[in-house]
């Protein structure tokens, strides 16, 4: 029986909080397990540096991901090369696994237009800030692939617990169910939508069970257990690419990854206003990184030395990315007018010229003096 065929309230777990195996391990080679470990450490370190860059005024508002590495990294590793990913605004970890350089993520949160640019060979949609809007795009792209007869791709969409309250969530899953689209809807249920707790979003017992009403499977997984996340996501991806015809085999899946955001919603948020430290500490005991590290140590995949090597590798990578982002010159106003239309219309060219002539008369200082 597939791991997806279960009660949506029956939480899938492979590792307990100490990293001891308590469920069916996914079919994963050692190298991939170590990649997942390294990328989780990378995401955590990136996150900590990003928060401190913001504190130092070197970056704008930033949404931290600490605590959510298990869900992001393991699910992204379950994707195949040709698969697509539709992120929200918090998937910096999943994005780097899927080929978006850290520098891009930094530039985006540093307010550079270039930060939104996606490399031609990365199948990643741009960050979606308006909640839940990306779900429909994921359904549509997957539907498009079905229409074109491309059966080798899965379309992964990430969103939060709060997003499940938006109409777009309903519409996306409903279309997906009706048209048998090859989607994996991956809900990062981190218990909070800014200050609003999960219970305020829905009276449903679980988020996973909502899939039932759309006519496809929903499964709840321990989102801070990377091996469980991998196992469930991989099955959902395989289902999306099933050789069997749509209604029979190829179908969407909703995954509810139960987890916790350790830090603030964004650097502009103060979580102490709405939640207790006791709750935070309870969830920190489930931290995905020590959990997988213990597993790896128990299985002889990691020791003190290799853990230290991973640490220094990610520190260098993040430092290099920060250097690269910070050495980008300040963007020029002309960039505002680029990529608005296929061709720059005359009135926009005139507006671009207007700002250039002001810069000539006054210099750049007058624009930045307040």
């Amino acid at each position: 029986m597939s791991v997806l065929e279960r009660d949506p309230g029956d939480l899938v777990q492979v590792l307990d909080e100490d990293g001891t195996v308590v469920g069916d391990e996914p079919d994963l080679d050692d190298a991939t397990i170590l990649d997942i470990y390294r990328d989780m450490v990378l995401a955590r370190h990136f996150d900590q540096r990003a928060v401190s860059l913001q504190r130092q005024g070197r970056m704008g508002t930033y949404p931290p991901l600490s605590g959510q590495e298990g869900a992001q990294i393991a699910s992204a590793h379950a994707l195949d090369e040709q698969d697509w990913m539709f992120p929200s605004y918090r998937e910096h970890g999943a994005a780097v696994v899927r080929g978006l350089p850290l520098k891009q993520t930094l530039l985006y949160w540093m307010g550079h237009e270039e930060g939104n640019a996606v490399a031609e060979d990365a199948n990643i949609f741009p960050v979606a800030v308006p909640i839940a809007t990306q779900l429909l795009h994921a359904t549509g792209a997957a539907w498009g692939a079905s229409i074109k007869g491309d059966t080798d791709k899965a379309f992964m969409c990430y969103f939060g617990d709060g997003a499940t309250s938006e109409g777009d969530f309903h519409e996306a899953l409903n279309f997906a169910g009706v048209f048998d689209t090859p989607n994996v809807f991956f809900c990062n249920n981190n218990q909070w939508a800014i200050s609003v707790p999960r219970e305020r979003q829905t009276a449903s017992r679980t988020l996973a069970q909502k899939a039932e009403a759309y006519g496809f499977e929903g499964v709840q997984v321990d989102g801070m257990d990377p091996l469980a996340v991998y196992a469930v996501t991989r099955k959902a991806i395989e289902k999306a690419k099933s050789e069997e015809p749509p209604a029979a085999g190829r179908r969407p899946t909703l995954i509810e990854a139960v987890q916790y955001r350790f830090g603030a919603h964004t650097t502009a948020d103060d979580p102490t206003v709405y939640r207790d430290d006791e709750e935070v500490q309870r969830w920190k005991a489930k931290d995905p990184i020590p959990r997988l590290e213990n597993y790896c140590r128990n299985h002889g995949l990691l020791d003190d030395e290799s853990v230290a090597a991973v640490r220094s590798e990610v520190e260098t990578r993040v430092a290099d990315a920060i250097d690269a982002a910070e050495s980008e010159p300040r963007p020029l106003p002309g960039e505002m007018f680029e990529s608005v239309y296929n061709e720059l219309p005359e009135h926009l060219a005139a507006q671009a010229a207007e700002i250039e002539s002001l810069r000539e008369i006054y210099g750049d200082e007058v624009f930045f003096e307040h």
Partner: protein, 331 residues
């Protein structure tokens, strides 16, 4: 306007909170609803302390769904409550757009007066705070375009409280857009007691005889700065803060224009199809023979609002406003 000797020195966002507090204390049908408005007191603290004061039934943290918030507020309003839904940022109002234009604006008309929608939809709007994508737009024209809605944009703490109270008491729906750049930029005296500032009335911030400069919201400040600098150079600007952009105070616009014969409109919205175009049309329709120069629009550009590294180029500043005024004056 009622007067009182007791005043407090508040920021604009504190004046929002004070206006809500004042009306909620006076009228138990007034309720606040939205995302993070309760325990968290709003992401900008505009509803701080209201949940503690008035409880869960009157200060409601809703599920994350703008259409849900505004759509249910329609039903509540028709049933006799006076909901004040908050949209966390104006950039996230669009899921509610259908409810706003199809129902909030038209319930009175569609039910031939049987049902009405006395609600105030509050939202922070505008740029300049280094916010992430979709957090900085000025799309007030969308709402001004819609019959049945009033659109208010205050620029001082005093006006904020008085206009908010007027909006809550108004029998028709009001879109209340708060310029978040100046939420905390300065303080002003605000009476502790209740008072109103009438919707639909502009105010002259600076009298002058050479050129009329119309503005609103956060642009009032760089506009005043430009006017003061130009005064030293011998150009006497009249600065009019519109405060309500629908309905516009046509009398104030026309009479100032008849006095100066020249007009500049300053706003941060994209130029095309904005309120600035409406003001230009009003002076053309009503005061053509007084006109001495083309009306100049100093506004945002017709591009998606840029990420924050470029926003200082996007937003009109005093230098750009001065250029615009001089072009008009020297025509």
């Amino acid at each position: 306007m009622s007067t009182t000797s007791q005043t407090q020195n508040l920021t604009l966002v504190q004046a929002v909170r004070d206006g809500l507090y004042t009306e909620m204390s006076a009228d138990e049908d007034v309720i606040v609803m939205g995302e993070d408005v309760g325990k968290n007191g709003g992401v900008f603290r505009a509803t701080e302390g209201l949940w503690e004061e008035f409880g869960d039934d009157r200060v409601i943290d809703t599920p994350l769904a703008e259409s849900g918030i505004v759509g249910t507020a329609v039903g509540m309003a028709a049933y006799g409550l006076k909901p004040v839904p908050e949209m966390q940022f104006s950039g996230f109002m669009y899921p509610a757009f259908d409810q706003i234009v199809s129902h909030v604006a038209r319930l009175r008309n569609r039910s031939r007066g049987r049902f009405t929608c006395p609600m105030v939809i509050r939202a922070p709007y505008g740029g300049g705070i280094r916010a992430p994508e979709h957090h900085s737009e000025s799309k007030e024209a969308f709402y001004a375009h819609e019959a049945g809605l009033k659109v208010v944009i205050p620029s001082t703490p005093h006006d904020t409280k008085g206009l908010l109270i007027s909006a809550i008491r108004d029998p028709d729906p009001v879109i209340f857009l708060e310029p978040k750049l100046i939420y905390r930029a300065f303080r002003g005296d605000v009476p502790e007691a209740e008072y109103t500032v009438p919707i639909g009335e502009a105010v002259t911030r600076r009298e002058g005889s050479d050129v009329s400069v119309f503005t609103y919201g956060a642009m009032s400040r760089p506009t005043m700065e430009a006017a003061e600098e130009l005064a030293e150079e011998g150009v006497d600007c009249e600065v009019i803060d519109l405060r309500t952009i629908s309905p516009l105070d046509r009398d104030a616009i026309i009479s100032s224009f008849k006095k100066t014969g020249r007009a500049v409109v300053v706003n941060e919205a994209p130029k095309t199809g904005s309120i600035a175009a409406e003001i230009t049309a009003i002076v053309q329709e009503e005061a053509l023979l007084y006109q001495e120069a083309p009306v100049k629009r100093v506004s945002g550009f017709d591009v998606p609002y840029p990420l924050y590294a470029l926003e200082d180029y996007y937003l009109p500043n005093a230098a750009r406003i001065k250029e615009g005024i001089m072009e008009t004056v020297e025509f």
